[in-house]
């Protein structure tokens, strides 16, 4: 029974990381209809920058803030320089550009910071929390991670729905020509979308790196699961990304604990296949309006 509780809580905390990556992918998809394969790489680079700040200043929160800002800037810069020329071309071109970008970022990190493991601090204590003498199986840091991701998702959803910037972002993605006619600066909205995605990706990187240890390829496997979480939840729904992350995290934890860790990828595939066969656009995406 204790094991079930530990697996569930552990699954929630790791699922929140998948949700964070999924959120940034959803954001870019909603804003620019591009699948950003470099999302993990961007998060890795901003985390390295944060680590430099933390080791220079000794303050975790300074590094945290710098990482978020660096993510904002990096996302915007990438969109302006590298993605903008690819936006009116076949959509696969943009995916290949992001693949090239990922390879470049990983090489760049290796050149600047070296390929060895770096230890990234956690925001709060990692010792398990206890009720009385019973271990709960999560730590204060896990609670922080969950809270941060939920807050980001909530802010994002609220921003999309209730602010005029969010409305403009959605309009620019839905139909750029019509949005332009209505006075929306489509180019700026695209940059804003990527910048925000960079911010959330940076958040994910900082939250997950204590567990993965930081090295140029550290975000590769997290990205795959984050992408899967976004697909399960539906790429048009930020709430879906969070739900998808939670479902994936908990389910894979159960599989790992009760059936064996070598079945985890196969089970992930099975879960994805089941969800997509029932709802081909993810669990929470709006259903397609027309079918023949």
């Amino acid at each position: 029974m204790a094991e079930l509780g530990e697996l569930t809580l552990g699954g929630i905390s790791v699922g929140m990381i998948y949700a964070a990556i999924g959120l940034s992918l959803v954001l870019i998809w909603r804003a620019t209809r591009i699948l950003n394969y470099a999302q993990g790489g961007m998060a890795m680079l901003t985390t390295y920058i944060a680590l430099t700040v933390v080791s220079r200043t000794g303050s975790y929160w300074a590094g945290f803030a710098v990482a978020l800002m660096a993510g904002l800037v990096l996302g915007g810069v990438i969109e302006r320089t590298v993605i903008r020329p690819a936006e009116n071309k076949p959509p696969l071109n943009a995916i290949i550009v992001t693949i090239g970008l990922l390879i470049f970022l990983e090489g760049l990190a290796g050149i600047i910071y070296g390929g060895q493991f770096r230890s990234f601090p956690a925001a709060f204590s990692i010792t398990g929390l206890h009720i009385g003498s019973a271990a709960l199986g999560i730590s204060a840091n896990d609670v922080f991670v969950a809270g941060a991701v939920l807050a980001a998702a909530a802010l994002l959803a609220a921003g999309f729905r209730y602010t005029s910037a969010g409305l403009r972002l959605r309009a620019a993605a839905f139909s750029p020509p019509v949005a332009r006619l209505l006075g929306v600066r489509v180019g700026r909205m695209l940059t804003l979308g990527w910048a925000l995605a960079g911010l959330i990706g940076a958040l994910a990187g900082v939250l997950v790196s204590p567990s993965t240890f930081l090295y140029p390829n550290s975000m590769d496997s997290v990205f795959v699961l984050g992408f899967t979480a976004a697909v399960i939840g539906g790429l048009d729904s930020p709430g879906g990304a969070v739900a998808g992350g939670l479902i994936l995290g908990v389910a894979l934890n159960y599989v790992g604990g009760y059936l064996g860790s070598d079945l985890v990828p196969l089970f992930g595939l099975a879960a994805l296949a089941v969800v997509l066969m029932i709802r081909p656009s993810g669990l929470f995406s709006p259903a397609p309006a027309r079918q023949v």
């Binding site: 290949i96 693949i99 390879i103 090489g107 760049l108 990190a109 079945l263 595939l269």
Partner: protein
């Protein structure tokens, strides 16, 4: 007529490869063999993505199926090589059918996500059932040069001939398929699914067929890779391979078979070239070994931005420019000749 034209083209290429494989060193022969493997896989993928509009990030998994089928058959059944290669392609085709059916309703990034997970999860079967598949260490296979070539025929040259021969057969088959009714139907479904369905095409069946054909090509490529590298292990079929195949297809020119050749050339030759350049500058430290990685990424981005239609697109535009210059015909810039859209040839 089309078939004859394609066969003639294949014969010319085959002759070229034979000459190259004799003139170049053994290591270059090995690289030619690698290129042949990739051409088979990328050609199938470019048909799937470019014609029928279905993105697949999981073709490495089909290559793995073909490779493991080859390994198991060579180790346990001792069939002749041609039969083994064909059977491996068939095995991959069957799995392509399964995946195609499962993915028939998926579009865009959802299909991408599903195939991505396939690429990640399938090789783990080899570790789970290590008794059959050899686990992490994999299966070791060896082939020998056939007797009729003589005892001193270099193995690398035979491997080059074998893989390129199979690749050429694949290209001819795909070229004919693309020009046939099936190919036109694929293009129709890739263009506008709803219109195609309204026109009476069975969209689902066509999509599955595209998966089957492209998976067969990837399975053949995996089988060829197995006999070329002599090892079949899960470490060779990571997600990186699937991504590389898609990269090669798009970089070379999506939907074109010449693009498959360009893309394969880039995949095999550029990384070694970049590493050689880095090594000749004396960069052998750990940080220096990342420079070829970063450079390769830059190459991908730049080529994609400068040549949005891929390398074949650039070649085509260059030839148009050249022919316009040579015939002194002044077609205003920016307007492609209308006849282009109706021409159907392909390579």
């Amino acid at each position: 007529m089309t078939l004859l034209r394609h066969l003639a083209a294949a014969a010319v290429l085959a002759l070229l490869i034979v000459i190259l494989s004799i003139k170049l060193s053994a290591f270059r022969d090995y690289q030619i063999a690698e290129i042949g493997c990739y051409v088979a896989a990328v050609a199938g993928l470019t048909m799937l993505v470019g014609l029928s509009g279905q993105i697949s990030l999981g073709h490495g998994a089909f290559m793995a199926i073909g490779a493991y089928a080859t390994g198991l058959m060579l180790l346990h059944l001792h069939w002749p090589l041609e039969v083994v290669l064909a059977a491996s392609a068939l095995a991959a085709a069957l799995s392509g059918a399964v995946v195609g059916v499962a993915a028939a309703r998926l579009r865009g990034p959802y299909l991408a996500g599903a195939t991505l997970m396939l690429a990640v999860a399938l090789p783990t079967l080899a570790i789970r059932y290590a008794g059959l598949f050899g686990g992490d260490q994999g299966l070791s296979v060896t082939i020998n040069t056939p007797g009729f070539l003589g005892p001193t025929f270099p193995l690398t040259r035979w491997q080059a001939w074998l893989t390129c021969g199979c690749a050429l057969i694949t290209l001819v088959v795909l070229a004919n398929l693309a020009r046939s009714r099936v190919g036109r139907s694929w293009r129709a479904t890739g263009d506008d699914e709803v219109a195609a369905a309204l026109a009476g095409l069975n969209v689902a069946r066509l999509r599955v067929l595209a998966f089957v054909v492209s998976a067969a090509c990837a399975g053949l490529a995996g089988a060829l890779l197995a006999v070329t590298t002599s090892i079949i292990s899960p470490g060779a079929f990571t997600l990186t391979l699937s991504i590389a195949l898609l990269t090669g297809a798009v970089l070379g020119g999506l939907g074109t078979l010449a693009g498959a050749v360009w893309g394969s050339l880039v995949l095999v030759l550029v990384p070694t070239y970049v590493t050689d350049v880095a090594a000749s500058h004396g960069l052998s430290s750990s940080a220096g070994s990342n420079i070829p990685v970063a450079a390769y990424g830059v190459v991908l981005v730049v080529v994609m931005l400068v040549f949005p239609d891929g390398i074949q697109g650039a070649v085509r535009r260059f030839r148009q420019l050249a022919s316009r210059v040579l015939t002194l015909r002044g077609t205003p810039r920016g307007r492609a000749p209308a006849s282009e859209h109706q021409e159907e040839g392909s390579t």
